[in-house]
Symmetry: C2
Subunit: 437 residues, 2 copies
């Protein structure tokens, strides 16, 4: 008997490995934060012993969900201004609120609420783009989650900087400070091709190459953006970025709603990861991203919630369900975006988009133990014919019972293990009261 | 102090009355199954005393959600066959499964699971269309829910009848048996204009008129149906039904995806209620119903989940969120279908569609106490700026804490009060095992 830290038993283990193996009556053995064995439960029981046993009958285990695009501190603006056009929403509501309220304290408190919400819906890993990266990274690490944290760069002054050079300088310092961390991957995050000029975008790209970190950017979210770019640079956004040498597999681009067939070809050829944020795109009426054409062209499409101010939650299970359904209707074909495909987009492909596919995104020996255990003993999950279908189409956030990141149990029986849940919620209510005025 | 049965206190009471009044720090007083007072909590406390107190700080109360189209026993086929075109799904999977398994016992057991799921997501009232109406009605009544139960009519033989005349005869007996029940409203439910010929539709209409009961029908769900009707009757489905004198305010038509502008005009003019089932329409790739044009034309559009075999759940909160979002993107206008509008469609308009608006659908003195209490003390519901926004865009089924129908507490602390929850779930699992084979 070899010693281990944790043994997880489940009726179904969705490995999301390259053959999409599912282990029935299986076990996952965790030691030193890593998965050391995945296989039949009886076999694991013969080989390993561990002080902590999780899961059990009536559960399913799957890789932690990867939310590839969010602005996590914006949970504090959830529902503050709804049902407005993107520019009015940003310029009249969100930006003024940010100008008035943002601070490292605001961000740190808000990120804890966001992590609590994400863990509670099965997310283990997310990509964040916002201000005060140090405060965000520190809060995420405190909560025990995995994140790619973007150092934001724009061409205009904000509360956190005066101009592009200052943002770039701060980004470099942020990257240096956090590179090599076990949970936080710093990244360069120029806001968009309309908020950053060619010079800034080239410098951001160079910075990312110098330090070997990912690049994250908003790309073709609205039709307005394509017109703006055509007017400014006589090119559509993807074509424009490609002309700068910006696009390659280190880039994850959020949205990609208004991309032409030619641009889809470029995204595929350059190996760019796309963070599809369907609920935000729908709610802001930004449009329908051509996900089926992108997948057919070989683009790695992943899923993101976007910020909770435009969604209005950080629930990846809901994104999965909405994505799977809406694109069937758009394609007039119910066979596209099946549950396995969507599950892959929400797990392994998410990790791969950030160059972290060797480390997480699936349940395989040697990978980090980033694992979700969900309870199948629920009225809406009965009977059970297809486990993938249940996760994508029928499972609710509240069915997520236990979540591990890097082998640490962060949520157990839906209770937060890595922070003070009542205090996080009290702070959220107090900030809400202040912001409401 | 007047005696009452139940006093519900909540931070917010969404009455959904004609002015959409919201009572802050409010109370609802229930006596003899009815609402006898809605107003400020302190006022109610001075006037009434009751043995049972529900709700409290950090809760919201709103009218029970009305699911205007489902086939509740199909929960037992949840996820049995996914991601197939409608006709293949029906003809190769669902109909054979129904032929093999349907019985009054199957239906009774399945309906209890469906009721458990619906209560758990805030539904108090639904419209059902399936076979074995007696078994359905008895099960719904046992569970304490309110339902319009359709006696199904088609032109071809099934397990429950040989021809239209036999279905019509059975429908009449069913209507006689159940008319006047406090919870069950029997209705006439000819399947569709493609499964029923003009003669059958006319007889169904006459039957409904004779007994003064609602009519429920599938209408223009798929493009195929419009072609079929044009080939058979040289008219599109709505126009065809109107030519028979079938359409009036007693009719609630499910789907209405493929309706022309002219047909929308007819639906509005005739006062037909539409049961919009967006998640089923998306998942089966049936298309996008023109909800915004229907609303603009004055059609009373309500919401339904359809059966769990094509959805794959009976979660009205999710239907509300998806409806509000998808139609914004279709209309390219984020201001349409705002949270208040969608909430109205899911509550009072649902009751009105079945001619029951005087009795339920809103929280008003004199109406039946069909009330939902939800818990706002959740990470994904913080902070709170707009209560309607939270219910439509951020609330999950698991936030529903307590549900009353006709003044009876059916769900309390998410525990079923009107049935044996573990037994219902065991039976569901056992049926699933048999069906899986």
């Amino acid at each position: 008997m070899k010693p281990a830290d944790i043994i997880i038993r489940a009726d179904h283990i969705l490995t999301m490995d390259k053959d999409l193996n599912v282990v029935r009556d299986g076990a996952i053995v965790v030691a030193d934060g890593k998965i050391v064995c995945v296989g039949p439960a009886d076999e694991a029981a013969r080989k390993y012993s561990a002080p902590e046993n999780l899961g059990g009958a009536g559960t399913v285990a799957f890789p932690g969900l990867v939310n590839t695009h969010t602005h996590s501190p914006m949970v504090y603006f959830r529902g503050l201004a709804d049902e407005l056009p993107l520019r009015e929403w940003l310029e009249k509501h969100i930006w003024p609120a940010e100008e008035k309220w943002l601070s490292p304290e605001f961000v740190a408190d808000a990120v804890e609420l966001a992590c609590l919400e994400m863990l509670g819906s099965g997310v283990t890993f997310f990509c964040d783009m916002y201000f005060y990266g140090d405060a965000i990274a520190a809060a995420v690490k405190r909560m025990g989650m995995r994140a790619v944290v973007g150092a934001g760069i724009v061409d205009f002054p904000t509360a956190t900087g005066r101009n592009a050079d200052e943002y770039l300088e701060k980004a470099e310092r942020f990257i240096r400070d956090w590179k090599g961390d076990s949970l936080i991957t710093p990244c360069t995050a120029p806001h968009s091709s309309y908020a950053c000029g060619p010079d800034t975008l080239r410098k951001a790209k160079a910075l990312s190459e110098t330090y070997g970190v990912p690049l994250h950017i908003h790309l073709s979210e609205t039709e307005w953006e394509t017109h703006e770019l055509e007017a400014k640079h006589r090119a559509r956004p993807v074509t424009f970025l490609d002309s700068l040498g910006f696009l390659d597999p280190s880039v994850t681009a959020a949205h990609c709603v208004w991309v032409s067939d030619e641009e889809i070809g470029i995204l595929a050829k350059r190996g760019v990861g796309v963070a599809h944020c369907i609920e935000s795109n729908l709610k802001l009426a930004s449009g329908f991203a051509p996900v089926v054409p992108m997948l057919n062209a070989g683009v790695r499409v992943t899923l993101g919630t976007d910020g909770a101010a435009s969604n209005n939650d950080l629930n990846m299970l809901s994104e999965m369900s909405t994505t799977a359904k809406v694109h069937k209707a758009l394609a007039k074909d119910p066979t596209v975006l099946n549950a396995r495909q969507v599950m892959l987009m929400a797990t392994r492909w998410g990790a791969e988009a950030f160059g972290m596919g060797e480390m997480t995104g699936s349940i395989e020996t040697g990978k980090a133990a980033d694992i979700v255990i969900a309870d199948l003993k629920k009225p809406h999950l009965l009977p059970l014919y297809d486990i993938y279908s249940h996760i994508v189409y029928s499972m609710n956030a509240a069915d997520i019972d236990t979540v591990l990141v890097n082998g640490m149990v962060l949520l157990k029986g839906r209770r937060l293990m890595s922070g003070d849940e009542p205090a996080i919620m009290e702070r959220a209510a107090a900030w809400g009261k202040k912001i409401r005025g």
